[in-house]
Assembly symmetry: C2
Homo-oligomer: 347 residues x 2
């Protein structure tokens, strides 16, 4: 990279661990309920309806870029969009999350998971990506749900705290489990590839709930499918980010899945994450979203602590450790973005 | 200990890391909805009403001992009992959890947290403990909520996934935070001491949600109060157990709080826990409760894995990594208890 990196390229350089001028920052769920301009246009229906409206989804994706000047945009979409689009019977209930009419239970349910044809099944996603690629001053991050996390929604039928049914199927019927994850890996791969073809310049795979698993279970039952997802988008030559919450114990296994960037929640300080993953690990994170509800002095101290623990490593994309909480003051997030930008990479 | 330890003493010996004959086992929430005999007598009201009925609470506590032959009983109670008893205005809503009419917000709310007078405020708890101490063939574990976890209920007003308000108060008003935790530590200490005076032979402190905190925040804002709780019951000379879920990152800090036994959830294999805490650490855990929903062969493999990772260390109390799930088949838990008992300590 040249000594002075164009601002729009800092994010991509950081994802590669290459030198660049300023620490890039974006916020998971930066486009969402915390923004008054989002609430003004979002409407009250299912998020799946909003996602299916390319004009609306484009505008929602752009809102935080205008407000915060973040260094990457993330497509306004949802990890259940592909399974919804192929007719599995999933909806996203406001205030609840993904719900499934007939949860996945048996081998016959595999037939409800046919391959995704992005142009036919999710044309609205591609149209949104194309319009964003034309308009955005920064890279667009496309994304998909990792096989485990999507499987957990399909099996539980609703958000769960215990993932009891998911684990019971995983441990009790490994053949069916692996067949399910194979289908979901295919869906993720097809969706991710189509997003890059349409103009996305980076990818994030959300395995949000993988941290619920014991490490040996993750390694045996989840890692192979996730590894295949990352391998089968490697040729696209865009940075691949891998994220989950509560993943401290499985962090080395998640890194072994092959992403370029490992997302870390706030429980694992960045210096500790590099002790586990190696000194050259490229990390994304990891301010506690709840810390953004504290007074500004406490937020500033927390931001400084994240930057200090990164220790000037070029392989760092600043982010929260999970999504923006709806009650967050956007003014605070703007201040966080400014603080990160004022911090020169390498310091 | 003699070469042949009386069965009733295996639990206490294991808590001290002393040699004994068979690995002791009990299950968090062993007295609860998974048992048909519990559902038959529990009724439908608040758990606080059931707890306030010593005859009923005694019977419920005894049920799993009769059924499973577990090596310890845990008092049928709830961590919000002391704050409820002093009139803070907390209830436990069936299917939801603790809810608070007027959540803790400001310094004036400290006045709602007067000291506990166990004989006057919770006579039913002491009566239950006394009757159990007379009837039980195994030690009774008394318990209390750790200051952080109780504070999270009082501040959030309802169960939370983010602990956003709790963290905002903690980071935003440390003086008030420490004053609150100080009151809650006093309540825990008074309650724990009264339970031992009445006949409890071990104590567990539940900091169930402390794993939501970043380690530096735990160390600064939570550890001092928890340390005081353990210090101020040390003279009672009963084993003290310290438990939370998702605590992998803070495990050494939790151990530093001074308990005799550290509870470990299923995310941290026991061998890894001893790498973090030292080879002589006494551990409780850590079968994934969800694993008990799998077919019996998978359950057996999971039990064997826990025992193998303990490696014959005498300082091991077998347990689940969190509470029994309500949908668990009691027959499976009985089988788990038998498997553990068939395993000789030291193997």
């Amino acid at each position: 990279m040249p000594a002075s990196t164009p601002a729009a390229d800092c994010f991509l350089a950081a994802c590669r661990g290459l030198p660049h001028d300023r620490t890039p920052v974006w916020f998971m769920r930066q486009a969402g309920r915390s923004l008054p301009e989002y609430r003004a246009i979002r409407g009250t229906g299912s998020i799946l309806d909003a996602i299916a409206d390319p004009e609306l989804a484009t505008e929602i994706t752009l809102q935080p870029i205008r407000r915060y000047g973040t260094d990457a945009a993330i497509l306004y979409s949802d990890i259940v969009v592909p399974v919804h689009a192929i007719g599995f019977g999933v909806d996203v209930r406001p205030g609840v999350g993904p719900v499934v009419d007939q949860p996945f239970e048996r081998a016959a349910d595999l037939d409800r998971l046919r391959p995704l044809d992005p142009e036919a099944d999710t044309p609205y996603v591609l149209e949104t990506v194309r319009s964003l690629a034309a308009e955005l001053p920064v890279p667009l991050i496309g994304f998909a749900g990792a096989p485990f996390t999507v499987a957990s929604y399909l099996i539980e039928g609703a958000p769960s705290r215990t993932y009891a049914r998911t684990k019971a199927l995983m441990l009790g019927d490994p053949d069916l489990w692996f067949a399910l994850l194979d289908r979901l890996a295919d869906l993720a791969i097809t969706s991710l590839r189509s997003q890059v073809d349409a103009g996305a310049r980076a990818l994030q795979v959300f395995d949000s709930w993988a941290g619920a698993l014991a490490p040996p279970d993750y390694e045996r039952y989840v890692l192979p499918a996730s590894r295949r997802v990352f391998a089968e988008v490697a040729d696209l030559d865009v940075p691949r980010i891998h994220f989950g919450v509560g993943t401290g114990e499985i962090l080395p296994l998640m890194a072994a899945a092959g992403a370029d960037v490992v997302g870390v929640d706030w429980r694992v300080p960045l210096d500790e994450a590099r002790r586990r993953l190696g000194p050259d690990a490229v990390l994304q994170g990891n301010l506690d979203p709840a810390a953004c509800l504290a007074p500004v002095e406490a937020v500033e101290a927390a931001v400084a602590d994240v930057l200090r623990r990164n220790g000037g490593h070029p392989g760092h994309v600043f982010n929260l450790g999970h999504g923006v909480l709806p009650e967050t003051d956007p003014g605070i997030l703007g201040h966080v973005a400014d603080l990160v930008h004022a911090h020169r990479s390498g310091d």
